[in-house]
Structure formats: structure tokens, C-alpha cells
């Protein structure tokens, strides 16, 4: 059975073979992620990578002239800090905690050493990077072509998948910021979903009441992203997969 607090609550860490996991374990540090905390600022040097557990981190692209838009969400299926192992000095995005919880952090230098061993951790991190790219590309196309209401459904579902309950702590202003749309647009879309009994929101909390209906309403972008992230953990047969 899984301990109450275990790095294995993060799927990437849980997918590691015992030997690799145990080598990392002493250097993994459990840290609280408070709502609104910025793990990185755009363009800054990154020191740690974060493996979230029961929390969600938004990657936001920040324009030079001010506005920002969410380009991906990372939860217990992923890791924040891809730049550290891909070798980029910094990222043009901000990483902000969107749903409070915890993460296990690891020094970037440790991660790089492990990554360069070329074992299962490298394999998992690279595959995760691919699913992150898919999420970013799909977000771009969704932003362009789909109505705010559909985007809101996508955002709610992607968030729910990364949390243990059906409740999100979230204000409409924050959602508007994530989706890069005006607040009125979110209010209108959320009002519609509430009137139809799909969600309930009050005082900064959103509760999903009818997930199947939300799934029927969402654009295909949700399924595309989910499929890629599911595929990552489908067969944990590293050797077979690596032969392509």
C-alpha cells in the first residue's frame, strides 16, 4: 500500500523501477505548493524541478506587453522544469500554482546527472516532454478555434484529472487569466454550465456535478491531450518501447 505521503503519488516517479527510484529518493524534498506561488518566472534560471502531487501548476506564457495565457497544466502526471534536462537555460513561461498541494522537488544538477545515465528516468522524462508538446500545440489550436465555453470545459476536465476530488479552488478572474480571455466571457460560460447543472460555483470554489455531461460538451482537444498523457503510462515496458 502507498504511504500517506509518498513521492510515488507522482506517476512519473511511481513508474520508475525500484533501483532508479531509490537512487533519487534521498534527494527528493517534499515542499508545499501554495495557491499563486510562482515556481519560475519567465526567463529566470531554474534551480529545481518539481514533481507535483495532488496539486496543479500552470505554465503561462507571458507577453512582453503584459497579458498571459496558459499553455499547459502539469499535475501528478508530470514534472515542472523541462528546461533543466533539455538543456535550455530558461523558459519563456511562468510556472504558477493553480491548485494548492505538494510537490517533490529535486535539484536540477541531480536530475541532469540521472538524466544523462540514459536509463528509465530519461526515457520517462522524454516521453513526458512529448505529451507536454502535444498539450501545448492543442492549447494553441483550441485558443484559436474554440468557444470560451468549450475551452472552459477542457480546462475543468484537465484540472479534475489531476486532482483527487471533484472540487477546484478557483476564482473566475483566475480562470480568465489562464484562458487569456475577458472575465465576462468566463462568467457567461460558467453561468451557462451552472444553469444546466454541470457545475456549481460559489465563493471561489467550483464543484463538478456532472462529469459525463462536461465530457460531452468539451471540444476534442481534451481527448487529444488525455490520450497522450494516458499513453505515457499505459505499458510500463521500457525496453520493448525503446526498441520502437
Amino acid at each position: 500500500m502507498l504511504a500517506l505521503h509518498s513521492p510515488k503519488q507522482n506517476y512519473l516517479l511511481a513508474a520508475l523501477p525500484d533501483a532508479d527510484y531509490e537512487r533519487l529518493l534521498p534527494d527528493l524534498e517534499r515542499v508545499p505548493l501554495e495557491l499563486g506561488l510562482a515556481l519560475y518566472e519567465s526567463g529566470s534560471q531554474q534551480v529545481y524541478v518539481y514533481f507535483p502531487v495532488a496539486s496543479i501548476v500552470s505554465l503561462l506564457y507571458v507577453m512582453r506587453d503584459g497579458p498571459s495565457a496558459e499553455i499547459a497544466v502539469v499535475g501528478n502526471e508530470g514534472v515542472v522544469g523541462v528546461a533543466l534536462f533539455m538543456g535550455g537555460e530558461s523558459t519563456p513561461s511562468r510556472a504558477v500554482v493553480q491548485s494548492a498541494g505538494h510537490a517533490y522537488r529535486l535539484k536540477g544538477s541531480h536530475l541532469r546527472t540521472e538524466f544523462e545515465r540514459g536509463g528509465p528516468l530519461q526515457y520517462l522524462l522524454l516521453r513526458y516532454t512529448q505529451s507536454l508538446i502535444t498539450q501545448m500545440a492543442q492549447t494553441a489550436v483550441c485558443n484559436r478555434h474554440h468557444a470560451v465555453e468549450q475551452q472552459l470545459c477542457r480546462w475543468l476536465l484537465l484540472s479534475l484529472d489531476r486532482l483527487p476530488s471533484n472540487e477546484l479552488t478557483m476564482t473566475q478572474a483566475l480562470i480568465a487569466n489562464m484562458l487569456g480571455v475577458r472575465r465576462e466571457g468566463v462568467t457567461e460560460a460558467a453561468g451557462k454550465l451552472q444553469a444546466e447543472g454541470l457545475i456549481h460555483y460559489s465563493r471561489g470554489k467550483i464543484t463538478v456535478l456532472d462529469r459525463p455531461k462536461l465530457e460531452a460538451r468539451v471540444c476534442e482537444c481534451y481527448a487529444v491531450v488525455k490520450r497522450e498523457s494516458d499513453r505515457l503510462f499505459a505499458g510500463k515496458t521500457f525496453a520493448a518501447d525503446r526498441q520502437l
Partner: protein
């Protein structure tokens, strides 16, 4: 001379091994190198050619999320351990490229840490381009995005004239054709570009840089720094 700058950056020893598997090809305007869901059979290192990565929604609404020329490689999923393309890779600038069968590429990739480092760095720069595109599409008007797109194309093809249809541009920018027409006319009116019979001519590059959104500079810095 090695046209592709990724290949040019690979140490000589690794490059010599690569060259055996590299085959010169000409990519033609409109060629589809991969469709979403298709197995990647070859990777491509563009020389004078230019390849767009398009994400589809609802089967037809497209949007360009990446643009690859002499600074990059088409087939990045292989680097990340994935053998299937998730985007459409469409040739939008005719020209030369070197291609390599996926199996041979992977063999070299796995035995060459310098090649791995180059390609991971490049992948990271490509991710920056994708996230930039996501935000740019959200906030910037068509005219500025068109200017940016023309500059990115100009940088890669190194010619002042290139073939382009408005329908194609609509797919790139994710807008309807009328939107493209209006934006192109506005740039033409300002004497920044010439446009006739499917050919675009860059007339005033400096002016186009002023007309483009900030995203052009940001992505350019990322690639130049990489």
C-alpha cells in the same frame, strides 16, 4: 558547406557517421511529410526548404504551431522516444533537405551524446516556439501575426520572393481567407510586401519588423541563443 545548422553543429566524428545515412532530397511546395497518427519513416534536415507543423482541430481547422527550416529538424518525436507524428508536417517552402531513415537516425542518435545534446536543445527551442504561438494567437491581430510569419519565413528561405496562397496562409494563421486578404492588403498598402499570383515579395524588411508583433523577436532570440 553544410546548409542545416543543426548538422553543422554536430562534432565532426558524429557527423561523418551520420552522413552515410543522409540522402539529399528536394521538398516540393505542398508535400505532406507526415500526417497526424502516421509512423515517422524519415527525419528531415531542411536546407533551403521550409516545413510547417500544423495541429488540426475538428479534422479541418488547422493552425501552424511550428516552423522548421535550416535551424532545425523535422521528426522531433523520435528524439523523445515516440515513433508517431501528432501533427501534419507540410512543406511550405520548396528546396533542399537531407533525410534519413528513422532506424538509422535512432542508431546514431543513441550512440552520440553530442547529437543528443544538440537535439534536446533544439526541441526545447521548438517548445518555446509552440508556446509563443499559442499566446500570440490569443492576443495579436492578424496583420501583426502575418508580418511575423513572413519574417520567420524570410529568415529561413533567404530569398525575398516565395510562393504562397491565401488559403495556405489562412491555415497557418488559423483565420478565414478574408482575414488573410485584408491583412495582406494592409501590408501591401504600406509598401512592405508585394503580392500577386500566389507570390509574395518582401519589399521592406525593416518596416515589416516594425509591423510584426513582439513574438518575432522573442522566438528569434531563442533560436539564435540555442
Amino acid at each position: 558547406m553544410i546548409e542545416n545548422s543543426l548538422l553543422a553543429a554536430v562534432p565532426r566524428k558524429a557527423y561523418r557517421r551520420l552522413i552515410a545515412g543522409l540522402e539529399p532530397v528536394t521538398l516540393n511546395f505542398g508535400d505532406v511529410l507526415y500526417e497526424p497518427g502516421e509512423t515517422i519513416r524519415h527525419v528531415y534536415f531542411p536546407g533551403a526548404s521550409l516545413v510547417s507543423l500544423l495541429t488540426l482541430a475538428d479534422g479541418h481547422l488547422a493552425l501552424e504551431v511550428g516552423l522548421i527550416g535550416r535551424e532545425g529538424m523535422v521528426g522531433v518525436p523520435l528524439v523523445l522516444g515516440h515513433s508517431v507524428s501528432l501533427v501534419r508536417a507540410l512543406v511550405q517552402g520548396e528546396g533542399t533537405a537531407l533525410r534519413m531513415a528513422s532506424a538509422s537516425f535512432l542508431k546514431e542518435f543513441r550512440r552520440s551524446p553530442p547529437l543528443q545534446r544538440e537535439l534536446y536543445l533544439y526541441t526545447h527551442a521548438l517548445m518555446a516556439q509552440i508556446s509563443q504561438t499559442a499566446a500570440c494567437n490569443r492576443f495579436h491581430v492578424v496583420q501583426r501575426r502575418l508580418a511575423r510569419w513572413l519574417l520567420m519565413t524570410h529568415d529561413r528561405v533567404k530569398s525575398d520572393r516565395f510562393r504562397m496562397t491565401q488559403e495556405f496562409l489562412g491555415h497557418m494563421l488559423g483565420v478565414r481567407r478574408v482575414g488573410v486578404t485584408k491583412a495582406a492588403q494592409a501590408l501591401q498598402k504600406r509598401n512592405l510586401i508585394g503580392y500577386s499570383r500566389g507570390t509574395i515579395t518582401i519589399l521592406d524588411r525593416k518596416g515589416l519588423e516594425t509591423a510584426a508583433c513582439e513574438c518575432y523577436e522573442v522566438v528569434k532570440d531563442m533560436h539564435d541563443g540555442a
